[in-house]
Amino acid sequence: MTSMILVSILLPFAGGLLTLILPRGWIKAFSAVVSLLAGAAGIYVLAAFTAAGKVDSNADLLYIGQWLIYGVTLDKLSVLIGAALGLVGFLIVVYSTGYLTDKNREHPEKEVERRFYFFLLLFIGSMAGLVFASTMLGLLVFFELTGVCSWGLIGYYDNEKARKAALKAIITTQVASLGLYAATAYFFALTGGTRLSDMAALTDGAKTAIFAGVLIAGYGKSAQLPFHFWLPDAMAAPTPISAYLHAASMVKVGVYIFARCIVSAGSVPRIIGIVGASLAIVTMVYGFAMYFPQRDMKKLLAYSTITQLSYIFFGLSVSILGSQLAFNGAVMHIFNHAFAKSLFFLVAGALAYTTGTRMLPNLRGVMKKLPLIGVCFTVAALVVTGVPPLNAFFSKFSIFAGGFQAAQMNPWLYALVVVAILESVGSFAWIFWVFSNAAAGQPSEEVAAAAPLHPAMAFVLVTLAALTLVSGVFAAVWMG
């Protein structure tokens, strides 16, 4: 299994480098093959792990002197997320081969740009590296790498807006990542190494300091208050990038490192749970309030991502306060949300590709004119708002149930969970209303003149829709 993990990390790196020198005509197919192999490797690891009885294991790989620099850890958390990210990565690459062409009515592309596939493949590799890392240094290195790739991809269109957005993104996440730097340094000073499993032996005060640093970095990367403002502007990126980085993977880095530290630390100081839960609710409410003025579909989805991430933070914080169910729910939500949100973003991309606009007031009657996109749109809207039997319901339900469970010992938690449920209903109302208006009725001008959808994009949309139908039950069964 370890070799497969290394494949899923290193193969995309190699592939990315190769795209810089391959002939242009080969790049698309090559990238697709590379990401397919990387994704397959991730799924193989998942299967092997399940077959081996879901037994946790570690493998130390890279040493400098007696300091462990990098190792891989296999447990439920890393295997599940790794598989998901690999799979979604492959789908995104396939989608991009169709999206970044001259048929795109919103952003036509004349020729294949190397840097897109370079950064994208590099990013896929970095994410795998982060997810399987067993040392804090490993987390940090891949954390930074993903930031760089994100900068390159956000600024891809190379116009004023995109460059500014990219700069904003990287500066914000860099400032936040100072927290992770401090945490790593402190951890190194305390334990003489950065092996994550050593965290369990630390004192509560030390754990609090480390978690504080991790949380700050996590908030920056996962666009929570007060570091949230780079995400809506990052929508200047091409839509497959918004789908992958800013919905499925990069923003999940923040929650992932938080989850990883919770797993490694054994018992976490309660103050972290209290602070985490409260800040999560604040972000949730803020993100929800920001839905209403949005006219650009991608910006609406960006704020929706912010609130979904705060759900995950909330679940993780609640798990600190005494509920394993909430932790499982949060992990399931990382898994489910990756499929759900990327589907929604890719639908937005498909709409932009065919009609040339993603402004909500201009999109009417989608179901009538573009039935395939319409159906996927429906599935996406239902999923994101947490309707069973689609996947997000199972994870949200677990988080809420865990909240009520933990609230037995912490009565003040009842209020927070109720706010979260209210927000969930409110999100449902708004997003569903927006969806209803866009999908039903007679087609608007732009929709009526829509061009046909590229088959690669159609394939990816359908696959993701099918995945959202089954991944919820799968994750629930697998985690439970």
Partner: protein, 670 residues
């Protein structure tokens, strides 16, 4: 085969039907879904029949997902009754949809899915799976409501329906979370056994009642029903009104009575009060509708009110430990559920046929259909007579039991009951009087008088399958009414078993009695026989006068004071209710009362969105831009160090060397 096997077979057949219809052409999908719906319903009926003979409640566990619990079906008495209800009405709607449903793949798929999810909801014994399939039920019905999605209103109607249902589901979800917190499990058995503090029980009751009440369509959460039922295809409206609302009442019964154990007095009172309000307002609002489906929808609100009154009385009986009251109340509620399923299904299907043939839902544009659509007219009449509680049909039987329960409550020592029970009885009577008006308007507007539009002139009965479904439901209505002395004890047994109360006598021979023959006896079969038999009296009277020898002419116009008669002179449906609206104007005050805060809320919303829009770039302006500016300025400032003049660089080197020399050698002193 055992009953549970038939049940699983029924579910499988529904699901197979749903999936199969996805791969067929629109016309074929309709037939496929109808066929599987029909045999699935028959299988469910067999399950019910077998379950009645088996001793212990049959149950089956399919799988378990931790930590949510096991996925188990169990057919205890109440669930069996609900399954019977779903199967009986489902068979009729499936038969009807063979030729009179829209030829639409989405509709076919979701209809069977809808029926399957309802079957699961009423038999599953775990709160998590209950909630999942409850929402699947809502989802399926949502897609059925928006089947004509290219119409603008359908989006809005479907959205409001889904929103109200989702809010209700959220309330139910919180209920289950509270249970989970205290009991540590989602299984019904575990929740029943857990000890829950009474404050939590109170909160659970309120949430569950509101959550399920929203789906049941009780006042004040009824406003979604008219638009939703009007938009859905007719066989779906029939299913929703007849069956889906009953699953909501089942939910109230299951959660508020079964799971919560005993009962607090104020719970029963709350349910009773909301029931009475729904009864009066539902009937009253139905009066002002000219769209036949909206009229039927609001009439359903009235009937759900009657059911809730029965439930409330039963809960009061449980709280006060009055076994007779409890048994009577639940009997009335369960019997009315069954009755309403039949006659409301019948009315909706009949309305569907009428709408189909005349091309309009407007009662003012129909007319004269009793001659052109005789079967539809006859069965609709049976349904109308039943719903207005005219003896000896089934609506009267359950309303009679409701009155007897109210009488029993009014005779108790509790002052609040002594005051309110008779007043609620009066409201029931008032609603009944309104209901007569509503259905005279509906039947009269649609079937009587001259044809008021072109299409109405040439309407004809629907296809044979649909007629059979209508006749089947009408026969069911009649059997439930005339057979009451033999059916009531069965339902009383269900009520007694469910409420864990001793069984009371509700019938003796050909008569029904409310626990004791001293209070009263009534015999619907006897009344029916007498009514039919006594038709001989006027015949004999006429014969005595030799009246049968006189002839009859029927080719004249109605009397119109000497003017030439025109169809527009006849009284139409809309003009029918004017006197009542004027006399009872205060009842409309509630509607106007809601208008003002609604408008205020809309204005507030706009203001809020505006302020949010202004708040969005706050961080951008306050933090990011200044920071970037600072970085830029700092950068430019530092840049002055690197001017490009090589002489300046030489100066830097010399200065640095000098400093180094000073530091290295000046410090050491040598």
């Amino acid at each position: 085969m055992t009953s549970i096997q038939f049940f699983v077979l029924a579910l499988t057949l529904y699901l197979v039907g749903a999936l199969a219809s996805l791969f067929a052409s629109p016309r074929t999908s309709r037939g496929v879904a109808a066929f599987f719906g029909l045999i699935g319903s028959l299988s469910a009926l067999l399950a019910v029949v077998f379950a009645l003979t088996e001793g212990t409640p049959p149950s089956l566990t399919l799988f378990a997902i931790q930590p949510f619990g096991e996925f188990t079906f169990q057919m205890d008495w109440l669930s069996t009754l609900m399954v019977a209800l779903i199967a009986l009405v489902g068979a009729a709607t499936s038969l009807y949809s063979f030729s009179d449903a829209p030829a639409n793949v989405s509709v076919s798929f979701f209809t069977d899915l809808f029926m399957a999810s309802m079957l699961v909801v009423v038999t599953v014994t775990n709160a998590f799976y209950f909630l999942v399939f409850w929402e699947v039920m809502t989802l399926a019905s949502y897609f059925l409501v928006v089947w004509e999605f290219d119409k603008k209103e359908s989006a809005r109607t479907g959205f409001i329906y889904f929103l109200v249902a989702h809010i209700g589901a959220a309330l139910i979800m919180v209920t289950f979370f509270l249970f989970f917190g205290k009991a540590g499990t989602f299984d019904f058995a575990g929740i029943r056994a857990a000890s829950i503090p009474s404050a939590v029980k109170d909160i659970v009751f309120v949430l569950a009642f509101l959550g399920f009440g929203a789906k049941a369509g009780m006042v004040p959460l009824h406003f979604w029903t008219p638009d939703t039922y009007a938009a859905a295809p007719s066989h779906v409206s029939a299913l929703m009104a007849s069956v889906m609302k009953k699953t909501a009442v089942y939910g109230i019964l299951r959660v508020c009575v079964d799971l919560l154990g005993g009962s607090a007095l104020w719970w029963g009172f709350t349910v009773l009060t909301f029931g009475a309000l729904s009864t009066v307002f539902g009937a009253f609002y139905a009066l002002s509708e000219k769209d036949i489906k909206r009229l039927l929808a609001l009439s359903s609100v009235e009937n759900v009110g009657i059911i809730l009154m029965g439930v409330g009385l039963g809960m009061i009986g449980l709280a006060l430990s009055f076994p007779t009251l409890a048994a009577l109340g639940f009997l009335a509620a369960l019997y009315h559920m069954l009755n309403h399923a039949f006659f409301k299904g019948l009315l909706f299907l009949g309305a569907g046929s009428v709408i189909d043939k005349t091309g309009t839902r407007d009662l003012n544009l129909m007319g004269g259909l009793s001659r052109r659509m005789p079967w539809t007219a006859l069965t609709f009449l049976v349904g109308a007579l039943a719903v207005t509680a005219i003896p000896p049909l089934n609506g009267f039987v359950s309303e009679w039991f409701t009155y007897q329960a109210l009488l029993n409550a009014a005779g108790s020592d509790l002052f609040a009951l002594r005051v309110f029970a008779p007043l609620f009885a009066v409201s029931l009577a008032l609603a009944g009087a309104f209901a007569v008006m509503v259905y005279v308007k509906a039947y009269g507007g649609a079937f009587a008088g001259p044809a008021r539009s072109e299409k109405a002139r040439f309407a004809k009965d629907p296809s044979a399958a649909s007629v059979v479904s209508l006749v089947y439901l009408a026969l069911g209505t009649i059997v439930l009414g005339l057979g009451a002395p033999w059916i009531a004890p069965r339902i009383a047994a269900v009520a007694a078993g469910f409420a864990k109360q001793p069984l009371i006598a509700v019938s003796a021979g050909w008569t029904m009695l409310p626990g004791s023959p001293l209070v009263s006896v009534v015999s619907t079969p006897l009344v029916a026989i007498l009514l039919i038999g006594l038709l001989i009296v006027p015949v004999v009277v006429v014969a005595a006068y030799g009246g049968w020898r006189a002839s009859r002419r029927s080719n004249v116009e109605p009397w119109s004071n000497g003017y030439g008669y025109a169809a527009v002179m006849s009284v139409r449906a809309s003009s029918f209710d004017q006197p009542v609206k004027v006399s009872f104007r205060p009842l409309y005050w509630v509607r106007t009362l809601v208008e003002r805060p609604y408008r205020a809320a809309a204005n507030f919303y706009n203001a809020a969105v505006e302020s949010v829009r202004r708040a969005e770039p706050v961080v951008e302006n306050a933090v990011t831009r200044p920071t970037l500016k600072l970085v830029e300025t700092a950068g430019q400032w530092i840049q002055t160090l690197q001017m490009g003049d090589i002489r300046l660089y030489c100066l830097y080197i010399i200065i640095t060397l000098a400093i180094l020399l000073v530091v290295l050698f000046g410090g050491s002193g040598s």
